[in-house]
């Protein structure tokens, strides 16, 4: 079966007064049907730009330089506004980072959840409300009939994120994009949301693209992982590939830095020295070379090529044999 979303060689610039920022460079990734794909990266890695491009929710100063975004065999980059609205409402939906700002404060949850279904023309209002009740129940909200008449501020952050997920799933999308959905929540609530996403994944027919900087969550939830650094995909593969057979020096460093992976208490935590490069200038060599502990002369001179390590496991690094 072909993937639900496939991004091929996507390159994108942001026009800024000092000159273009090369925010994405030759990004390729796929979201297979009925699977959870995680994108992991630090700030400035371009992970949010990738999902914005996938939904064509880009800032005005974004210029696509090349590549394609294929959703269900259709080219998203070539769609007109009407097609895009249909795509976003019905086929792709999104859960954002901050549950406190992603709902309309002056409307009841029920009103918002029935409004979302406006495209279902021949479904009665009562039926839409029933669907909303059903969805609220599925995301673990008790007494959904009464709670539908409440306003967003009457819910806690965790509850609002559950509601956001319910809203996102209401139109049975084929792809749910979750952008750091637990970052604003406490660990206990985070664990509940992750558990909920996994449960929902069992019951609804669709894929999830999960964006996070938290390796623990990626490991808990995802089937496949894409690692991004400074606008490039540096490594991708199954979750096991990434956590047990990490090949790119950046992935390795990222894993080493995670304090949750360090078993013994240590006063000196590992770090990645240096800064994320200024993307106004496309680096001549490998983008990670200035911070890479294993960089050799070649890494600084020529761009790294993608090396295949195993089935579906690829990394963009000179040091991985691809001769």
């Amino acid at each position: 079966m072909d993937p639900v979303l496939s991004i091929r060689d996507l390159s994108l610039d942001f026009e800024t007064p000092p000159g273009p920022v090369h925010a994405l460079r030759n990004v390729s990734l796929e979201v297979p049907r009925n699977h959870i794909v995680g994108i992991v990266g630090e700030s400035g890695s371009g992970k949010s730009t990738v999902i914005a491009a996938a939904m064509r929710l880009l800032a005005n100063n974004a210029v696509i330089r090349g590549g394609e975004v294929i959703f269900n065999g259709r080219d998203v980059l070539g769609m007109n506004q009407e097609e895009l609205r249909a795509l976003r409402g019905e086929e792709i939906s999104m859960v954002f980072q901050d549950p406190m700002t992603s709902q309309i404060p002056v409307l009841t949850i029920g009103r918002q959840m029935t409004d979302i279904q406006y495209r279902r023309r021949n479904v009665s209002m009562a039926e839409k409300r029933n669907l909303a009740v059903e969805m609220m129940r599925r995301v673990g909200i008790s007494d959904p009939e009464e709670r539908l008449d409440q306003h967003p501020h009457q819910f806690s952050g965790g509850m609002r994120q559950r509601i956001a997920i319910a809203m996102a799933l209401l139109m049975n999308p084929q792809l749910l994009i979750a952008d750091e959905p637990t970052t604003a929540l406490d660990v206990t609530m985070e664990a509940q949301i992750i558990h909920l996403l996994r449960e929902l994944k069992e019951s609804f027919e669709g894929s999830i693209l999960f964006v996070s900087h938290n390796l623990g969550l990626i490991a808990e939830l995802c089937d496949y992982v894409v690692v991004m650094y400074a606008g490039e995909v540096v490594e991708q593969g199954s979750v096991e590939d990434l956590f047990y057979r990490a090949s790119h020096p950046y992935t390795q460093a990222l894993l080493e830095c995670d304090p949750a992976r360090i078993e013994d208490a240590t006063p000196a935590l590992p770090t990645i020295p240096g800064d994320v490069p200024d993307l106004h200038i496309v680096p001549q060599g490998c983008v990670f070379a200035p911070r890479c502990p294993r960089a050799v002369a070649r890494c600084r001179e020529e761009p790294a090529q993608i090396a295949t390590i195993g089935a579906g496991h690829r990394a963009r690094c000179h040091l991985l044999g691809h001769e």
């Binding site: 942001f14 800024t16 007064p17 000092p18 920022v21 925010a23 630090e42 700030s43 400035g44 890695s45 371009g46 992970k47 949010s48 730009t49 800032a59 974004a62 980072q97 750091e180 970052t183 604003a184 996070s212 900087h213 938290n214 400074a230 800064d275 994320v276 490069p277 200024d278 993307l279 106004h280």
Partner: protein, 300 residues
């Protein structure tokens, strides 16, 4: 664990070195914008005319030349003369001086008072805020011109009264804006950080809040100058502003109105400077906003 608050494209590290040159870029953009150039030029011309009136024109604004009454423009009298034979161009220049004087005094007084009262209302205790708000709203509920008419009828026309009226009615406008800004700043974490260091309220207002609220206020003040100039002109037109021999755009306009059948030049001479001043300061205010307001600067 929580993530960076925003992530749009490049990392902050990448953006940081560019920030300095960004400010110059804004200045450059401003200089390239024809409207801000026009605004700046008009304002500069107005100032030069008002400040160096003595050197620009050989006439005195009050010198009467009965032989040359209501003359049309000529090389001798660039804008003609009025009903008493006074050189209109000279009177326009000196009238600009009066207009700027009124504007400078009233705006700077209103600005300082509004700044202090607004910061006190925004930062101080709730009761003070309520009391000041009540005061601001009561003052603002008088229509400016009616208020001015009432006061001047009681005290007699004078420039100082015009300034007083403008100051009293503009303070609430500035104070309200400062208050709103102060209140939003007060909620921010850096205030707690300053208090945790032992910083007192006075220093918090002076060192931390003032630079944040003053920029937008300058923009507003620049846009308010034409309003003030118009109020002064309006009162002088009605004979309630400056006293007769002193030239003012309003009184020139008033004379022109009276002698409109004899010559159109007085009305033109009194009206055009008002229009140009309004345009000049408005364009300049908009240009200033681009430079001074960091939020707008950062989003473009």
């Amino acid at each position: 664990m929580s993530a960076p608050a925003s992530e749009h494209g490049p990392g902050l590290d990448a953006a940081a070195p560019a920030a300095r040159s960004e400010r110059f870029a804004t200045l450059r953009r401003m200089i390239r914008d024809p409207l801000s150039i026009l605004g700046l030029t008009l304002v500069v011309l107005l100032f030069i005319g008002a400040l160096f009136a003595e050197y620009i024109t050989p006439y005195s604004p009050t010198a009467i030349d009965v032989k040359a009454r209501l003359a049309s423009p000529s090389f001798e009298h660039l804008l003609g003369t009025d009903q008493l034979g006074r050189d209109t161009f000279t009177r326009v220049l000196y009238g600009g001086r009066v207009a700027l004087q009124v504007a400078a005094w009233s705006i700077s007084l209103a600005l300082s008072a509004g700044l202090i009262l607004g910061m006190l209302a925004g930062y101080g205790p709730r009761w003070l805020d309520n009391a000041l708000l009540l005061l601001f709203d009561s003052v603002r509920s008088f229509p400016t011109i009616m208020f001015a008419l009432a006061i001047i009828t009681l005290t007699g026309p004078s420039l100082n009264m015009v300034i007083l009226v403008i100051v009293v009615t503009s303070i609430p406008v500035y104070a309200r804006i400062v208050r709103t800004q102060t209140m939003s700043l007060k909620e921010q974490e850096f205030v707690l950080a300053a208090r945790a260091l032992g910083t007192g309220w006075f220093r918090i207002l002076r060192v931390h809040f003032l630079p944040n609220v003053i920029g937008p206020l300058f923009i507003l003040a620049s846009m308010d100058i034409p309003v003030v100039v118009t109020i002064e002109a309006g009162l002088s037109f009605l004979g309630l502003g400056v006293r007769p021999p002193t030239p003012s755009w309003g009184s020139i306009l008033g004379d022109g109105y009276a002698y409109i059948r004899a010559t159109p030049w007085l009305v033109v001479a009194g009206g055009v400077p008002l229009i140009l001043t309004t345009l000049g300061f408005t364009f300049m205010g908009e240009a200033l906003r681009d430079v001074l307001d960091p939020r707008l600067r950062r989003t473009d």
